[in-house]
Symmetry: D3
Subunit: 244 residues, 6 copies
């Protein structure tokens, strides 16, 4: 990832997921875009997907490792409440804040807070939003040994269309480069225990096609900024999705 704006010490992109395959399906192309451009990315997964209908935890961890390697990212698992058991806890948010302080990202990716989706997703989204604040507060006792860190932006992703927030305007990431679509597809297919059972890959590529056609490109991924974007000039705001 080339140096991001206004960041004296840009760390890797930090991407949070409730399950081993969420990031690959929702925004694997975006992660690949950043690593292909030379940036680092660190993935944090909060369960081993053990509640899914297909795949053992061991298999799913292996799939996630393979996918992370394809995306050029490092990977870390958290031992939390378990798949389908995630609860909102201050301790979780503080642990995430500690990871933010350690990784020191400019951008954090997390699932959206829309409640009508997998319950682990919106709970992680809400705790990620909390954590981005807690990472800045100097007096949090569990974190006192780590220097505070203010991220630049929290971007929500939507694993499925119904998880797209209606109260935040999307930004569209152009991921049309054929090598990005290829590595994204490969990273999704690395989760063979899932893709053999459901048509996830097809869903994601069709979504990226629809967003892409709106943006006037081949494929695009929508992300939803938690905070208003701050610009120095009109230039970065000058390209809108007006394909049709």
């Amino acid at each position: 990832m080339k140096p991001l704006l206004n960041s004296p010490e840009p760390g890797p992109l930090l991407a949070l997921a409730a399950h081993p395959d969420d990031l690959e399906f929702a925004c694997g192309a975006v992660i690949a875009r950043e690593t292909r451009a030379g940036g680092a990315a660190h993935l944090v997964v909060c369960s081993r997907g053990e509640a899914g209908s297909h795949g053992t935890p061991r298999q799913r961890v292996a799939e996630a490792r393979k996918a992370a390697a394809l995306l050029g990212a490092t990977l870390e698992f958290l031992e939390w409440d378990g798949d389908a058991h995630l609860e909102i806890r201050a301790a979780h948010a503080i642990q995430l804040a500690g990871i933010i302080r350690r990784v020191r990202p400019v951008v954090v990716l997390a699932p959206s807070c829309v409640e009508n989706q997998h319950p682990d997703h919106y709970r992680l989204g809400q705790m990620a939003r909390d954590a981005a604040r807690l990472a800045r507060y100097g007096g949090v006792k569990e974190l006192r040994r780590q220097t505070v860190h203010a991220i630049g932006q929290l971007l929500f992703y939507a694993v499925t269309p119904e998880a797209e927030p209606r109260d935040l305007s999307p930004v569209l990431l152009d991921v049309s480069a054929p090598e990005l679509v290829a590595v994204w597809t490969e990273a999704m297919q690395a989760h063979g225990s899932q893709t053999s059972a459901r048509r996830y890959v097809e869903l994601q590529l069709a979504r990226a096609r629809v967003w892409g056609l709106r943006a006037g490109v081949e494929h695009a991924v929508a992300l939803f900024p938690n905070s208003p974007l701050v610009f120095e000039s009109l230039a970065p705001a000058s390209r809108g999705a007006r394909g049709f």
Copy 2:
């Protein structure tokens, strides 16, 4: 204005207003930011402010010319329905589309479409949105002599806080540079017939201070993109307003 993204032939910034002072109050600092950086800006005003409680049309036109000069922008008046008489007409939108084809801007600024504000404002906003589409359609008979033009983005401004849309996420333009605040203030004060009667300057600077403190800068102006922003990487999305 330095060359904007994805535009083979970037023209000036095009800014549309219903009344002679709207642009200066709402986003004078943004216009100054672009012209100070070497870009061109063209202002189009659809009335002479003749329905206002203060100032004659002649005075107000003179004030607008002075303000435009301060902002480094060219200025054009339209002879439409008159201040406080603006109506939604296809002919108006088509005329605006013709101006877009002539000026060939990447970015267009227009008042927001929020209906609870001065009636001329939201009507112009709606017609500006329509015009941005019509400018692209090759068969509009009144415009056949002009080459079609697709703008990059339509950004809405809000002359007063209640005009800020609730269904579009704002982007914040950092206008903290002292010379920008100075020229903005001067351009607002150029409308002496208005500023002597109401505390418009104070309102706008207080708004810019509140947005600025949210963005972690001195002063900022909020604009509201009509279409989702399209980015090539995460970099332009990496700075969010998280001042508090």
Copy 3:
């Protein structure tokens, strides 16, 4: 009506309607509340209801006169585009602004701007909102002989439940006094050409019962303030609808 806050010269309550029976059905009890307390009320109706399925224009005017008398209000008809033919025109809004300058009300009642209702309703609502602004602008040429007037508040009413705005919080007027319900019912029944065909009276009383039970009273009518309420203390904000 006892003197309203912050008004040096409180005029009558001004109530605007698209059709002869709209006010009685939507908020007859509110008008009666104010006139019973000694205030004046002036009703302005923009058509003779000639597009309705029942009742001739002559009948409907007579019904409206009878209802206005019951409510203790004066009544005025406008010759506009005709029932079911209302269009958004600057001239209409300016004429309404002239009425506001003449009547000098503190409070104006108008139909809501929700678009999924009778087309005349939301168009009048939108023009009433515009007119409340135009009445304050000194330079509107058609109105130069009338002193400008700033109303205190524009309150939207909803003739039917689907016209209740979702983006404005309601305020509930307690109209439980038996004499208010009686005169309201009588005023609705004055529109015999309508009430004989449809169960409008029943609808309105059931609505007032539901709102009333929420407010902890017998009957209440919901109105929707166009502008944030301004208070000198917490006292007027201290009673909320928490009946259940």
Copy 4:
């Protein structure tokens, strides 16, 4: 179309469009579904598409006729303001109401009222909604020779994704039958002057795929009911889109 609920005299499906190709792109599969099941469909188009960048009016009319034939529908053109010139007029809404009285449909299809789309689309949507009411009012003088008619439901379609309303819940029509997708594709391709220039067919099929995967079927089209659905039992509400 098999007899719809609660309709003593069900007429054809009535579908309204601003341009010759809007219906085919937005919901051709839905129309085909009804005609394939034995129902009638009548299409009304309010311009000849003469403002488009591609195709002459003559060509576009021919394309529309071919597409209508493929869909098994009758077709009628209105001489209104012209493509890209549509204005909100009471006369237009009344004319649509007259068509409703003549055709006597249970269901009417019209473009959504979302304002950030082609200006002709949302204006027609708004006038269609008005017309559905006017068709019921017995006293509209221009329509006195036609018996009043109350439609069963107005369903909005979205020609492009940004036209999907955010304040109405969609209903999804399962159009997965291969013959439906085939005839829909053929009807879209009948508009060769458009499809040769832009990737409209691809956009619509990708959208239908995304909605379909959400619904657990191959392809689905989203429509947005203007009024709450009324059911006799829970059965018609018992199938929800929970594919992922």
Copy 5:
């Protein structure tokens, strides 16, 4: 209940409630409609109403049993956190998912997730929504002995008007049949400890009257589908609430 669409093995209607009287007040008529038509219904209540101002837990359980018998439904109590003590817990949601797997309903009724209502209501609503997903996931360890089950639709009910969601379109169930209103009223009155103190019955019948008048029938109950409705044709979407 007659067989619902698309369900190879339709089980009973499953209705979830936080307190012994919630279901009867909110949607007793809907449950009666289904059982009168031959379907089965199973009610699950998560407390004994012990925090209420009136009635002992023993009384309230007896009232619930009487009401369930009147509605022709079976009844089950859960031993959870207690009335007014409900918390969001993964274990609760998983237990609900287990009930869904055991009962195998096509339709589930649950309180809405609107937060400004009794705290137990929205928490149960949120956990019901989560449970509907968890019931489909094969690897949830606590549920491994039960076959996964995908419900058809989750319908939210609103015990009071402020619990009606603003972001979901309602569907209206016609419950006008006199015997339905009668049994509904009787089932509400079975909760004598509550109805003697508050005018709940009157509130619910007035609400059903307002919804009914909108739908053009005598009485209707509004429910809010969690997922978009999926239809095979336009027929089930063809009746809208356009009474006024």
Copy 6:
């Protein structure tokens, strides 16, 4: 505080805060307004601000005591989960309900429930809303020794602009009296450990200036009523914020 409407036994204003300085920053002027008018106010703070970057718990408690004295309010600290550790717990809400029963306020102030703010804020807001209901329920076992109490209104405050709810209409409290602004400023500055590090005072005064200019006064504070306001006449609704 002068006697509030409809309250036989008005107790003090009750104001709830997550941190020692939240109330002073968000609505110190409102509290001062009520105490200056002779009313009582009781502040309840749920942490000692120990997670903040500046100030020790001991210092912050001392600052809060000084500020409360300036505002003429009594002050109480709760020993809960600790700053940045607040969790939604039934026990917390019940404890708040107990405080409501003890203090017997007509009006309660609490932070808004908007989730994109400090996590302690919205959690307290949500539990305050729950508590206002629980205080009325006679059977809550932990509270049986206290008489039930129904508050008149719950008003949400927003510590920062992003915490202002978008789905509730604000009411504006005029706090322009110079002595109010003075004591408010003094109370904010009493939190010297915070104000020395961040420009909180400037933020709040600029916000109050923007709201004030909208309301046509010098300074105003926006509060957001949780329940619809109930009025006996139009008088309290007759002043709207229409400054611009």
